[in-house]
Amino acid sequence: MKGEGSTWLAAGLLSLLLVLLPLLGFGLLPGLALPIYAVNLAGQVMCFALLAMAVDLMWGGAGVLSLGHGLFFAFGGYLCAMHLLRSAYAATHKLPDFLLFMGHGGFPSWWRLADSAPLTLLAVLVLPALLAFAFGYVSFRSRVNGVYFSIITQALTYTAMLLMFRNDTGFGGNNGMTGFHAIAGLPAGGLAAAVLLASLSTAAVLAALLGGRALLASRFGRLLRAIRDDEPRLRFLGYDTLWLKLAAWCASATLAAIAGMLYVPQVGIINPSLLDPTLSLEIAVWVAIGGRGGLTGAILGAVLVNVLKFWLSAAAPTLWPFVLALLVLLVVLALPNGLLDLRNRSRAWLLELAPASLPRRRPAR
């Protein structure tokens, strides 16, 4: 499997970040300290990286591009926010604004299910995957694929966004849900919580990277790539690709939901903007820019684009959309497989220049 080197490099860097986050965050190294917003930023970017990996698993893995992963991301986020609001209520006995606004005297009774953290976690792992299953089943079964599938996923998030924008859907409408009190016992917005969440996000990315690589290297991963190459052929070999795609699709949705669950406490709010089709498209853009199929490209793309975005939208907000658009066009036209291509190309140039000095990489089985 190609890209082993970059996997280990990425895994190493992630581990380093994992170690450094608490050290720098709490200022344990003399003279070196990260401000809390930087810790927070790193955590958010890691969530985006996780989200990008979820999309890459499907796109790079099976050639199925989802333009609707914002749906699963937001699903995880809303579930997490429900739990945080319930625990905030348990601590302060103050109802969140959106319930008061809707004229409710209390939480709808079924929200009590979100009281338990393990149950919420279970919900994050299961419910988005169930939704993905239902949608994937009807789509894959009727052989909706390629561009059709991408656009229908986009329509799905769009519809979900319209739904969540309504106040009477019961999840805060366009204002969303906010007012978290504590995260795992640490005061929300505090340094400890920020470091904890950022470290958790980094660890999740690391775990997903290693797990995802193993998955892609397995026979399952090879079957996915066979689907990407020529799905009908695989069916003529007697594989019901419906179930293969569904398995990958549900796993991908779960990954996105985990990213959402970690993201929401870090930004302190969730609202339907996460369901905006633009976000879902941007995820695909991160992956395209970083490079598909190896998961490291997804991480690279998510980190680069988002850091650039954070920086530029503060420094030159009108410039950012232009930069993003031109970046996409450049990558799509010049580097068909993203920035990872750059490495392969430079390697090819080097080989041309000095054929003997570099060991030729043997393609691994």
Partner: protein, 550 residues
């Protein structure tokens, strides 16, 4: 709050009217004709300290309103308005003066005269004010120069008709030339007839109402059922029931037609944006996420044409929607060609990447427009022939701007169909759509065809923007809402069949419009999406599958 705002608006308007009326008054003041009014007595009553005298005077004015001459009417209106604006000065001897902007005049003779220092400006009581308002309106019905003023007066009277002389409406109708004011007068007459003591008058009024099916008349008739007089007389009750049934029937027809009409117009707009999308998708397997931005560009080009005409040929400005047609088509088409040559052509075998590339293009276009034109909605000078509409049946109104969009879409459909069926380019487009490799083999330059088709699709979307400009808000992000619906049309209609596209566009337009009033816009979207997903289960190739090898 709201009442207060309305009241102050009223006062402002009243002020203007006073000024205008007083000017007329002064101009016509010299012509003294046979006085039907005892002007001096009237002023005396108004200046009286007794509230009953004042009311008496006002009621007299109201009763005289239909009878007096034009000059009398103008004088009376001037006095009434001065009274309500506290511009009537009363001397201690019961003599009246009017405080005009040009100076004080005697209230009876209108000759310049200064009011004595100890004169007072009486404040009309609340009851007097109510009558004063009626007097003002009743006089305006006869003397106001502007039809809009008279219309307003009639409506005011129809709202507060107690004490208004019975013959007023009839008299006014005889002298009225404006059709709208006449209609309002007739409606008022009918309304009055409903409550007339005379059964025949009531029956006539009910019949008249029944012949005019509107939601408003339905309500009027319904409220009559509660009137005890109707329970008493079976003839009236029967007539009422028949009239209600009739009105309801036509209302329902009108509502159904409105729904159809609105669906048709929504579908037309969808068709304009989806047709290009479908042709391009069929031809190249590429979904152009910038299609909505082509619509937006079309609208902006239309706007620029309007501005240019306004600057260089103002007499032509009303015709900008027509002048813009070729300009929009060519310019938007040119943008499409540039996009195809610069980007799309390099990505034919990578349709998913094309999605991202066209999204980047849409981002670029939106922001380019945003930087040059700003984010606010454009202010179009919608020409008179595209504003308003005509009522057909019930509350169904054929609005010209929607009719414009529908007609435009029909023309676009016909033109596209002609292009595809009758021209060489169309033949080539169909050939490449069916079998690209084969068409390439027999010497069709597939690249040129792609370019031309993409330009055509873009131009079509641009025309969609033109057709939309009198209906929708035009701003840089207006296109983003279209792409998802348009793609749904392509999914539903299948590729390579313009007929399927049109049918699907109408279907989705109707579903959206049809569901919205009952369950809301969101439900409409949800249901449309579910229906499409279901349809794909049953027919993956769309409504009308294209032939050919894929």
């Amino acid at each position: 709050m709201i009442g207060g705002a309305a009241a102050s608006l009223r006062i402002c308007r009243l002020g203007l009217v006073i000024w205008g009326a007083l000017m007329c008054l002064v101009l016509s003041g010299g012509r003294a004709d046979a006085a039907a009014y005892d002007r001096a007595r009237l002023i005396g009553q108004l200046c009286s300290a007794e509230a009953s005298d004042v009311l008496h005077g006002l009621n007299g004015m109201l009763a005289e309103a239909p009878g007096g001459s034009l000059a009398d009417g103008r004088w009376a209106l001037g006095v009434a308005q001065a009274f309500s604006a506290k511009a009537l000065r009363c001397g201690p001897d019961g003599h009246g003066f009017l405080a005009l902007p040009s100076g004080e005049v005697d209230a009876v003779s209108l000759a310049p005269a200064a009011a004595p220092a100890d004169s007072r400006a009486p404040l009309p009581s609340l009851r007097a004010r109510r009558v004063l308002e009626q007097v003002d309106a009743a006089l305006r019905v006869f003397v106001a120069a502007k039809a809009a003023d008279r219309l307003d007066a009639v409506r005011t009277l129809a709202r507060h008709s107690e004490g208004v002389p019975a013959n007023l409406a009839q008299t006014a109708l005889a002298g009225e030339h404006d059709p709208e004011v006449a209609r309002a007068l007739r409606a008022w007459l009918v309304e009055a007839g409903l409550h007339a003591p005379d059964v025949a008058a009531r029956l006539a009024a009910i019949a008249a109402l029944g012949g005019d099916a509107r939601a408003q008349t339905a309500n009027q008739l319904m409220s009559l059922r509660a009137d005890p007089a109707y329970a008493a007389d079976p003839r009236v009750a029967a007539a009422l029931d028949a009239a209600i049934a009739h009105v309801r029937f036509w209302l329902r027809i009108g509502d159904a037609l409105s729904l159809l009409y609105n669906g048709l117009s929504a579908g037309s707009v969808l068709f304009m944006s989806a047709a290009g999308l479908a042709i391009i998708f069929g031809l190249m397997g590429v979904i152009n996420l910038a299609q909505g931005e082509f619509i937006m560009i079309g609208a902006y080009v239309t706007f620029s044409v309007q501005q240019t005409l306004g600057a260089f040929a103002p007499s032509w400005i009303a015709w900008y929607p027509l002048v813009a047609v070729p300009v929009v088509f060519l310019l938007t088409g040119a943008v499409g060609v540039v996009v195809e040559v610069a980007v799309i052509r390099h990505l034919y075998r990578r349709p998913l990447m094309t999605l991202l590339a066209t999204w980047a293009i849409s981002l670029l276009l939106i922001n380019l427009v945003r930087v040059t034109f700003g984010t606010q909605n454009l202010q179009f000078r919608t020409p008179p022939y595209l504003t308003g509409g005509v009522r057909v049946v019930g509350d169904f109104l054929v609005t010209w701007n929607h009719l414009f969009a529908i007609g435009f879409a029909l023309l676009a459909f016909a033109a596209t169909q002609a292009l595809l069926r009758l021209t060489d380019l169309g033949l080539f487009i169909r050939a490449v759509t069916q079998n690209r490799a084969m068409a390439g083999c027999v010497g069709v330059s597939t690249r040129r065809i792609d370019m031309a088709a993409f330009g055509f699709g873009a131009g079509l979307a641009g025309l969609g923007g033109l057709a939309l400009s009198p209906i929708y808000n035009v701003n840089p992000t207006m296109g983003t809402g279209f792409i998802i619906d348009s793609f749904m049309v392509v999914v539903l209609g299948g590729v390579g069949s313009l007929f399927g596209t049109a049918l699907a566009a109408l279907g989705i337009g109707l579903v959206n419009v049809g569901i919205e009033p009952f369950y809301g816009a969101v439900a409409a979207k949800v249901i449309a999406l579910l229906m499409i997903i279901l349809l794909i289960q049953w027919r993956p190739e769309g409504l009308i599958p294209a032939l050919g090898r894929r």
